[in-house]
């Protein structure tokens, strides 16, 4: 009995102690005041963990100021690892080729792997901002990770560039001040022109088949909207789950409809399997195929055979574009890595180019975020993807190429433009305000009928 009382007394003491401590904690803010102070540089006592800084390369300028740390997020492990690796290669290549000094300051890149998971990506972004104190975060890859990261980045005030993540609303209905699509694109931006192209080619009845998730919905929506506005009819929309192993049943359903053409958007391994089925079911010879950019991206062409030859797609990047900026980039990428660059590489390269140019304009003063972003917004320049300029919603107006897969002299395939739509806006030819009154493209809303009355 005595033992029990002692025990009880002790637990009361412990309990009170912890309550007191909690109260104390609630009164005084640790580290002095309020939230994370972003961009403080006086944190001498804490040394950052080992960082993977981009080094080497011809330094054309002498670095005079402090180095600038930039965080680079990509999914370098997991299902999209090869695309993620290409992002990293494109970004690193720019600094290798052009020197890692911009605006008089050395650029140090801290690479982080999101593993394609929004929660992991978010924590990595936090680490970059709070521990590494980066001045800019570039990436990540996936739209869903991108939205999560962007949402966080707005609370920090640190700029966030999205060259790859293409969720429409990031620069449309849920635009944020410090989140810019530098080098990037909205999903439907590249499929809007394709709808018009399809109509101009004389196709009237089209079947669409897209991966059943947000990116697929948006790509398909862009095509469907402009194609039906032009007067065409989408007679059937098929949605296949991500990771579809067998496209046989879909091929049968498409044949049944006897369409004038088919619009298809698949990603990763699904694209390879889709193109393979398209050829082996004999559709390639009978029905014209119009692909979204990633159906025939260079990263996938590397794994495709002759079945891809001659297929048409639309995209903001065409590695076969006969322009000096493009071919210089393609050549140096090929020399460095032994591959032709994919769109993931090109947009990341363009993001680096954009960043460097802007830093030059502000003499490296990235700490003045407003001035830096103003410079970013004011830039107009020629990139491997063509002329670049941000619209007032922070998405680049850029060329969209109708591309055909051709075989190079060295036997490798690449996308060569056969028609160019210049300076395409993310809103196509629609009035931005009217466009934004409609919902974002989804499975339910594909912009069919007379736009914008149809929504």
């Amino acid at each position: 009995m005595a033992g029990k009382q002692v025990k009880r007394r002790k637990s009361v003491v412990v309990g009170m102690l912890s309550v007191v401590m909690l109260l104390l904690a609630a009164c005084g803010a640790p580290g002095g005041e309020e939230e994370v102070v972003v961009g403080q540089t006086d944190d001498a006592g804490t040394e950052a963990p080992a960082t993977e800084a981009t080094e080497g390369g011809a330094t054309e300028q002498e670095a005079t100021g402090d180095p600038i740390k930039i965080g680079f997020l990509a999914a370098t492990t997991g299902t999209a690892a090869s695309s993620g690796q290409d992002m990293v290669r494109g970004w690193d290549l720019y600094w290798k080729v052009n020197g890692d000094v911009a605006g008089g300051r050395q650029i140090q890149t801290v690479h982080e792997d999101t593993a394609g998971d929004p929660a992991v990506g978010l924590n990595k972004a936090k680490r970059l901002v709070e521990n590494e104190e980066v001045k800019l975060v570039v990436g990540p890859l996936f739209a869903n990770v991108g939205l999560a990261v962007a949402d966080y980045m707005t609370t920090t005030g640190v700029p966030n560039f999205h060259p790859v993540a293409s969720a429409d609303d990031m620069t449309q209905r849920t635009r944020m001040d410090n989140v810019l699509r530098v080098g990037g694109w909205t999903s439907s931006q590249t499929s809007h022109p394709l709808g018009q192209y399809a109509y101009d080619e004389g196709y009237r009845k089209v079947v669409t088949i897209c991966a059943d998730y947000a990116f697929g919905h948006e790509m398909c929506g862009g095509f469907t909207n402009t194609f039906t506005d032009a007067g065409g009819e989408v007679i059937k929309q098929l949605w296949n789950p991500l990771g579809t192993q067998d496209f046989g049943t879909y091929m049968a359903q498409i044949q049944e409809q006897n369409p004038d053409a088919v619009f298809a958007l698949q990603v990763g391994g699904d694209s390879v399997r889709y193109v393979e089925s398209w050829s082996s079911f004999g559709m390639k010879d009978t029905i014209p195929l119009l692909g979204g950019e990633v159906l025939l991206d260079q990263s996938l062409l590397r794994n495709m055979g002759p079945e891809a030859e001659g297929l048409i797609s639309s995209g903001k990047f065409a590695e076969g574009l006969d322009a000096p900026e493009t071919q210089d980039f393609v050549e140096s990428f090929d020399n460095e890595y032994g591959d032709l660059p994919s769109y993931y590489a090109s947009v990341s390269y363009i993001a680096a180019q954009w960043t460097a140019n802007a830093l030059e304009e502000v003499d490296g003063d990235i700490e003045d975020v407003d001035a830096f972003l103003e410079a970013v917004r004011g830039l107009e320049f020629d990139s491997p993807g063509g002329p670049m300029k941000l619209d007032e919603y922070d998405n680049p107006d850029q060329n969209v190429y109708i591309r055909e897969v051709q075989t190079r002299e060295d036997g490798r395939m690449w996308n060569v433009p056969i028609k160019t739509y210049e300076n395409v806006s993310q809103f196509w030819e629609y009035d931005p305000e009217e466009f934004l009154e409609c919902p974002v493209y989804s499975r339910e809303y594909q912009g069919k009928g007379e736009f914008p009355e149809g929504c």
Binding site: K7, V14, L147
Partner: protein, 338 residues
């Protein structure tokens, strides 16, 4: 008061002091990772309530976790409701879904229980990825923390307080008559039923309790990330919770928290230095299964009894019934007399 109990109390006291001091000692990022580990600790504890105590291993708890998170996310991002409304909907959604799941699973056991719960997790994930109202693949953004707790350290203390409160509640539960029934369910369902317990009702009840705490964890997770996505509900999230419980020590309350800290730190801190961190995680898990089946906490306690002379002597008189702990003075002589 035995040496072992004193050691436990000391460890608990030290843990509390360390937890309260953390924001003063660590950088903001580390504090937010600790916050995350606490949330996952609560989540893993709720799984352990079923898996460790009642022997009901669930592979779909992320479904409940995600439902709580989506409830908050939906109100915050689609309706624009206030915090109170977010909490209400988050908790209600979690509990409603839990009760449906519990009704589905309460009459099965063993492998069937695994399969049913696995399917439940998949249903929530499938719904989340397809529902446009829930943002489909992209999830829901724009979830704001309650303004009073928006600063990282305030949110940390809020999380700490909630996790402590929930831990205390779970401690009471596992030491209650019902907690004893749960251990009975794990030991032998047929015997338990023969003793007058309705096994289906017992399962339903523990499912609801685990769902309650799992939902709280999900709600906190939504505020932590400030967004909700289908990856909350994905099978890996269910599996991760079970993994945390096993790695830390299944059938104890502190074990899952320890497991959560290990895994969260490997994922978010070690991953910076070690490129092959998923491999490390896998190896660690295999090691746990092969070498330390009782998990980190189990291994620690075995070591304690083996290597600490005073504790070694105590082991023979150790009482397992927890509420008897204060009763050693009575228990010890009886055993000696034997």
């Amino acid at each position: 008061m035995t040496l072992t109990n004193r050691a436990k109390l000391a460890a608990l006291g030290f843990g509390l002091v360390a937890a309260v001091a953390a924001p003063y000692a660590f950088r903001p990022f580390t504090v937010s990772i600790i916050t995350l580990a606490l949330i996952f600790g609560l989540y893993a504890m709720s799984i352990d309530l079923m898996a460790g105590y009642a022997g009901l291993v669930t592979l779909g708890h992320a479904g409940v976790f995600a439902t709580g998170a989506y409830g908050v996310g939906y109100v915050a991002s689609r309706i624009g409701g206030a915090t109170g409304q977010q909490l209400l909907v988050g908790m209600a959604a979690g509990l409603v879904v839990t009760s449906i799941f519990a009704l589905m699973a309460m009459r099965v056991g063993g492998t069937y229980f695994l399969m049913v719960t696995l399917a439940q997790g998949m249903i929530v994930w499938g719904f989340a990825t397809r529902s446009t109202d829930l943002g489909a693949e992209n999830g829901l953004t724009g979830v704001a923390r309650p303004s009073a707790f928006s600063a990282y350290w305030k949110f940390y203390y809020l999380t700490l307080a909630i996790v402590l409160l929930c831990s205390l509640a779970m401690w009471v539960i596992v030491h209650s008559p019902f907690g004893l029934s749960l251990r009975g369910l794990k030991g032998s369902e047929t015997r338990l039923q023969m003793l007058g317990y309705n096994p289906a009702l017992t399962k339903f009840y523990v499912f609801m309790l685990a769902g309650l705490f799992g939902t709280v964890a999900g709600v906190m997770y939504a505020y932590y990330n400030q967004f909700v996505s289908p990856s909350n509900a994905v099978f890996a999230t269910s599996g991760k919770g079970v993994l945390m419980a096993i790695m830390g020590g299944i059938g104890t309350l502190i074990g899952p928290v320890v497991g959560a800290f290990i895994i969260v730190f490997i994922e978010n801190v070690l991953s910076v230095h070690i490129e092959r961190w998923p491999t490390l995680l896998g190896l660690l898990f295999i090691f746990t299964i092969l070498g330390a089946r009782k998990g980190f906490v189990g291994a620690l306690s075995d070591g304690w009894y083996r290597w600490v002379p005073g504790a070694r002597a105590e082991r023979s008189t150790r009482t397992v019934s927890p509420l008897d702990a204060g009763d050693d003075a009575v228990a010890a002589p009886e055993v000696k007399a034997n």
